[in-house]
Amino acid sequence: MNAIDAIGLEKAFGDTPVLRGIDLTVAPGEAVAIVGPSGSGKSTFLRCVAGLETFDAGALSVAGVEASPGKANARALTGRVGFVFQSFNLFPHLTALENVTLAPMKVRGVSRAEAREAGLAMLTKVGLADRAHGYPSELSGGQQQRCAIARALAMQPEVMLFDEPTSALDPELVAEVLDVIRDLAAEGRTLVIVTHQMDFAREVAGRTLFMDEGAVVEAGPSRDLFANPKSERFRRFLERVLRAG
């Protein structure tokens, strides 16, 4: 069974189409990157996969859960999909550890002691063991994002989705977050990463999709794709991104 099966996903905001028939199949253990200019629909697509956004037409199956058009089913996935937001969205009134243990306790019914133990292990994994009792406001952006990753991992998701996880970070904090994601890929976890970091996509993702104007323009093994962009649009996009440095 595939981790993600999306066939012909379509969505419009009012009269403006944002997804024009997106296909994506992700096998368990695969790491896939989605790149493209802003407004290309890549984040919207990821949000549809997570059940945070409805889609108008097409078929979608995520972690074995079927989604139907017109229905946002994030809750139906009950933590089987981990989502990492650009803006972290940590719960500000809870400590790092409480952020990580909340869902396992409340959704999975894991005991407090067990959740704490697993939560501390997750925080250790992302290098935050010493900040376990700090509140989000006391953490740097990079630490907050690593905590958000730990929070998602604590639900033992089958798929991890990253929506521009480093876009809100100061440049010097990007690496620590990418390192964590790199480790997850090395562990063989299933990842889909929407990113503006081309080097990172090429290095970590086995496969990359280039999206523009709501459609997948090019897709294939990351090395080939970045080495030999076929379409004019992808070539120009890469030029612009590389020039921006």
């Binding site: 945070l52 809750r75 999909v81 989502f83 719960f91 869902a103 509140y135 639900m155």
Partner: protein, 219 residues
């Protein structure tokens, strides 16, 4: 001066008895008002018009009319329809209904002000709507609401003096009775004002404690 101290000392038991009513009325008004106000806030935030509309009309009616008139309607007006309420109950209902309207506006805006990303984070983690409200939205909304709700509470304590007009023997009513007997008008009302101030100062202190507790690491 000695006379004044003596007078206050003598009438203190009466004033304290009145204070008991004042505190009870304030607590009842705030307690039921908050509960009712929360329900109204949820109605006003509902996507369903048949829930939103009545709540909006209620808030408009209560906020748009004087509290004193509301109390008179309940205590003097309802008996015309065979509903005779004892003074304390009438006042308790009046203050609760009044506080509810203001509290609902405070809670509605505080809930709406919680970032949308918080709901989304809760949803992808699999939390139910009820869990999301109780564990994620309300604690954050409560922090925003502490200051304006404290304002309402402090106003309410002072507004309970209006209950004197519908026969509730609260603090101000007791002061009136004492002054009628002793004619030490200024002293008595000043002492009464001081007692109201003490209660309000205590509430303000409670507010700052709550605000410190809800700082979540931001110090």
């Amino acid at each position: 001066m000695n006379d004044a101290a003596h007078l206050i000392g003598q009438s203190l038991p009466l004033l304290l008895k009145g204070l008991g009513y004042t505190v009870a009325l304030s607590a009842i008004g705030m307690g039921f008002g908050l509960a009712l106000g929360f329900g109204l806030a949820l109605m006003r935030l509902s996507p369903r018009a048949f829930l939103r509309w009545p709540a909006g009309a209620y808030v408009s009616a209560i906020r748009g009319t004087p509290l004193l008139v509301q109390l008179f309607l309940i205590y003097y007006g309802l008996p015309q329809f065979g509903i005779e309420l004892p003074p304390l109950l009438a006042a308790g209902i009046g203050f609760s209904l009044n506080v509810a309207a203001y509290a609902s506006e405070i809670l509605r805006s505080a809930i709406a002000a919680v970032d949308r990303g918080q709901r989304e984070a809760a949803a992808v983690l699999g939390l139910s709507p009820t869990q999301t409200m109780a564990l994620i939205i309300l604690p954050q909304a409560a922090r925003t609401a502490i200051a304006p709700l404290s304002n309402s509470f402090i106003s309410l304590v002072k507004d309970t003096s209006l209950a004197a007009t519908i026969q509730v023997p609260e603090l101000f009513r007791q002061a009136q009775l004492v002054t009628a007997r002793t004619l030490e008008i200024f002293t008595m009302y000043l002492a009464t004002a001081a007692i109201y101030w003490l209660v309000c100062a205590l509430l303000a202190w409670g507010q700052s404690r709550l605000e410190r507790r809800a700082a979540w690491g931001r110090r």
